[in-house]
Amino acid sequence: MKIAIYTFIGLLLLLVESSLLSFVPAEIFKPDLGVPLIIYTSLFLGPQAGVITTLFIGLMQEGLSAAPHGSILFVKVAIFLITIFLKRKLYIDSKYSFAFVCSGFVVLESFLLITLSLLARGEARNALNILFYTIPNAVFTGFIGIFIFSFIEYLNARYLDRE
């Protein structure tokens, strides 16, 4: 139940983001709304929930982007696997530490994509562009991560954990 709700929230957020971005002049601040949900489900609901959310969010983000086939899904699954393997090292006790982890993973995501492009295709054309947006994206994703964490915790406390 929780997996379905969180995945649905994630997909809805991505659609709203894409729709809003077409007129909001927020070129430099494009948060990755998928990362907080992938991290949350992977850490708090386990690997099964994490892999489902990752697959849907990865595909949705690719569907709403001109990114090459497989690139975003690859990066998202890599984030999921890293989260799972670092589960015991990542200490999340508040929305702020969650936001910090989200920001870190956005930076990692950028470097993963650059590495993937360089190693698999030998392309470096987009590397500078990706680096340019890395820090603003990480900061903004962390900021939005605070609200996503609070919202999910509120949903849990108010509705989902009551069952």
């Binding site: 709203v16 729709s19 002049p25 982007s65 497989g70 690139s71 975003i72 562009n129």
Partner: protein, 267 residues
């Protein structure tokens, strides 16, 4: 055990997506079909989401600009707000009317058949520059069809689903357009930088090009028809090493404020 299965599935997805990224023929076909099937659902959902976000767009465009206006009292404030909101619809409608009239005139002037489309979304990643339009294969849109506005070229359709299409904008780092300077023989490749300003590549230092020159599509890249406005030269630097000049171009279309675009049908 279940956790291990989830991790194995994740590793399999990782391998498949990697092979799709590297264009492995067998994988990329299946992956495209799977992704295409998933993307089919995105178009209708985007249209659905676009309805409430239109309201946000309206508020963003009109009401936000009113912050700071003085109001005499609470009663008048409410009434004034209502009147202002009501009145703002008129210029909005006039602007839309003007925009659509320009599109219509442009379509009438140009004998090529065109499809008008509305921009419903934008790329989620700022690493790539793409817009999503509300017309897809059901409206006979195909990949590599050029997308323009009356002001100039916007980009080309790169992925077409049944209900919507993704358009790679000319400032994407993967975009190249063959252009020539208006009234001159100078030709070059207009390449995206991922930023607002574009680069004109492969123009020799002794070629005839100056600041203010208008660039038009040459029609030699097989995508864009000849004579469409692409941008204007804003800087020309001939002092850098090498045989080519460093030229910055400002595109005519503002890609952040696109609401309607035209897709040129290829015969």
């Amino acid at each position: 055990m279940k956790n291990s299965i989830a991790i194995i599935i994740a590793i399999l997805i990782l391998i498949i997506s990697f092979l799709a990224f590297t264009n492995t023929p067998l994988i990329v076909k299946g992956y495209s079909a799977f992704k295409g099937g998933f993307s089919e659902t995105i178009g209708p959902m985007l249209r659905l989401i676009a309805k409430p976000t239109d309201l946000v767009r309206y508020i963003f465009n009109s009401y936000i600009n009113l912050v700071g206006a003085k109001r005499e009292n609470a009663e008048l404030k409410k009434r004034l707000d209502a009147f202002v909101l009501e009145n703002q619809k008129i210029p909005d409608l006039e602007r839309e009317n003007k925009r659509l009239r320009t599109l219509l005139n442009f379509m009438e002037k140009n004998p090529r058949s065109m499809i008008a489309a509305r921009v419903v979304g934008e790329d989620l990643k700022n690493w790539y520059k793409c817009i999503i339009i509300d017309k897809g294969s059901t409206s006979n849109i195909k990949e590599k069809m050029p997308v323009i506005t009356p002001r100039g070229i916007v980009g080309q359709a790169v992925e077409v689903d049944r209900w919507h299409s993704k358009v790679m904008v000319i400032n994407d780092t993967n975009s190249s357009v063959d252009v020539s300077a208006e009234g001159k023989n100078t030709r070059g490749l207009l390449e995206g930088t991922g930023q607002t300003v574009l680069k004109l590549k492969y123009v020799l230092k002794n070629d005839d090009i100056e600041i203010g020159d208008k660039l038009l599509t040459s029609g030699k890249d097989g995508i864009y028809p000849k004579g469409l406005p692409a941008g204007i030269v804003i800087t020309v630097n001939r002092n850098k090493p090498g045989i080519f000049a460093d030229i910055d171009i400002m595109p005519f279309s503002n890609f952040k404020h696109l609401e309607e675009v035209l897709v040129i049908k290829k015969q």
